[in-house]
């Protein structure tokens, strides 16, 4: 039932798009508008050496790890 609904929805979207009723989404942030995004203070890892150390400390002290941008080098720190 759900599969039929999804298929119908996709077919409807495709038809509307082909007939020109739906315009394709275009990148809305232009290159000349990315001055702030390019600022180093907008980096998730401005200084990798420092971030990887803090990530290592947390991995050693907490049961959780991963999904934080770190690669994980393996240590017997448990």
């Amino acid at each position: 039932m759900n599969l039929k609904r999804v298929s119908f929805g996709l077919l409807l979207l495709g038809t509307l798009s082909a007939c020109g009723y739906i315009k394709p989404i275009k990148p809305w942030v232009k290159p000349y508008e990315r001055q702030n995004i390019a600022d180093p203070i907008m980096s998730f890892s401005r200084d990798p050496i420092s971030d990887s150390y803090l990530s290592h400390v947390r991995d050693a002290r907490e049961g959780a790890s991963g999904a934080d941008g770190g690669a994980g080098g393996g240590c017997g720190c448990n």
């Binding site: 000349y32 907008m42 999904a67 017997g76």
Partner: protein, 428 residues
């Protein structure tokens, strides 16, 4: 493209003055865009550019729970031919003492006399290569970690692809690790202990999206699996062989010790979402959340808020606050009711139920003077303070020293730790 725009603009300008402002605006945008792209500062926005060439020299100190860990770390990154980037990373941990849950697994006599103190060193080396082709980035990495009772090798591979006008970057990574787990006795390998081997696998999926001209968001999904590759009956490679569990007994102390026993596999899943927003006056605010689960019954979540502000022309200040909490593993207990109370036994406080709070302060100072051979240099100092409150791990230390407690009824353990990082960074 720019020439066509200019020609069209000239025609329109001669027709209607009302359209002059509009065309002028487009022209100005085009010229500014072209100039910025030519300078290379914007094209380098998220993906499909090589990382900066730099050298970092870091000194780190961890001090908490009776343990001091310190050491140096060096990172060097150099690019070649505009498409290849090579980095090398060298890292040392010098550990002054064992963790409380390992230390107090020794005999009470050792504890009181302090005879169980030890020190060890961990050396980590990494080399990574990154290659860019069009809007794709490929990276390969190899890491080794050496301790006198634990060796690890990790291989990483990753690929990322930018699309949608470079607003979206999709990445995939996998890591494969092989570890050798040993056991020390008086600082030397224990001849009676058979070295255990384990494999680690990690798969990562990432999506990075520029949402507005001031907002970026990242979604990460990790799945990991560790398992023992050469186990015999009663072997357990996913724990620290030094650590033991305690159980209630008829001895004079009221309890006794036996070896930990873990499952042979550990499967983990984590999902993280983080976003960073650019504020006026050159400041940014960042938020991170993460949820973690594993097949041992641990469920964890954490959230962090970070604020970065330029206070003077060359000084950046960072403030952050983080909270973390987790449930205990199904087979964890601080005090088991009797020997071999269950199939799996753990007394690792990192598998107990606890919550923590951290605050952090940091300063980055861009050196105003030019150092020969380098374009930019910074000096950085960061301090983090962690407070961890354990809900079912007791302060065995006070119990042993002061007495007066029933076993298993000691005060709950809590830990305060300071984490210091001082580093110099040089871009060339």
């Amino acid at each position: 493209m720019v020439q066509m725009a200019v020609q069209e603009a000239v025609v329109v300008v001669t027709n209607k003055s009302k359209k002059i402002k509009l065309v002028y605006g487009w022209l100005r945008a085009l010229v500014i865009g072209a100039a910025i792209m030519a300078s290379g500062s914007i094209v380098s926005v998220r993906a499909t550019v090589l990382p900066d060439e730099r050298v970092d020299l870091l000194g780190h100190v961890y001090d908490g729970g009776g343990i001091q860990v310190s050491g140096p770390s060096v990172l060097v990154r150099k690019n070649f031919g505009g498409v290849v980037s090579v980095s090398g990373h060298y890292y040392v941990d010098m550990v002054s003492s064992a963790s409380i849950d390992v230390q107090y697994s020794k005999s009470a006599q050792d504890l009181i006399s302090g005879a169980s103190k030890y020190s060890e060193e961990r050396l980590e080396k990494n080399i990574s290569v990154e290659y860019i082709h069009d809007r794709s980035t490929f990276n390969l990495g190899y890491t080794t970690s050496e301790e006198n009772d634990y060796n690890a090798k990790t291989y990483n591979f990753g690929v990322s692809q930018a699309f949608f006008g470079d607003l979206t970057t999709l990445s995939f990574g996998l890591g494969f690790g092989q570890d050798q787990v040993g056991k020390n006795q008086n600082g030397k390998p224990d001849p009676a202990f058979r070295v255990l081997e384990k494999d680690r696998r990690k798969y990562t999926l990432g999506l990075s999206q520029i949402i507005t001209k001031n907002l970026i968001a990242d979604l990460s999904i990790d799945a990991g699996s560790d398992h023992c590759t050469n186990p015999l009956e009663n072997d357990s490679c996913l724990n620290n062989p030094q650590r033991q569990v305690r159980y209630v007994s008829n001895s004079a102390k009221g309890f006794d010790w036996q070896a930990e026993k873990y499952p042979l596999t550990h499967n983990t899943d984590a999902i993280g979402l983080r976003a960073i927003y650019h504020l006026p006056y050159r400041a940014s605010i960042r938020a991170d959340i993460r949820r973690f689960t594993d097949n041992w019954g641990v469920e964890a979540k954490n959230a962090e808020l970070r604020y970065t502000q330029e206070v003077y022309k060359d000084v950046l200040v960072e403030v952050k606050y983080r909270v973390y909490s987790q449930t205990a593993a199904d087979f964890y207990s601080d005090l088991f009711p009797y020997r071999n109370a269950q199939d799996f036994l753990a007394r690792d406080k990192e598998l107990s139920q606890f919550s923590s709070q951290s605050i952090g302060l940091g300063v980055t100072y861009k050196m105003p003077w030019a150092i020969p051979g380098f374009d930019k240099s910074t000096a950085n100092f960061y301090w983090d303070h962690m407070k961890i409150d354990y809900d079912n791990f007791h302060d065995f230390n006070n119990f042993m020293k002061e007495g007066g407690f029933e076993e298993g009824d000691e005060n709950l353990y809590s830990l305060d730790a300071d984490v210091l990082r001082f580093y110099l960074s040089f871009w060339f």
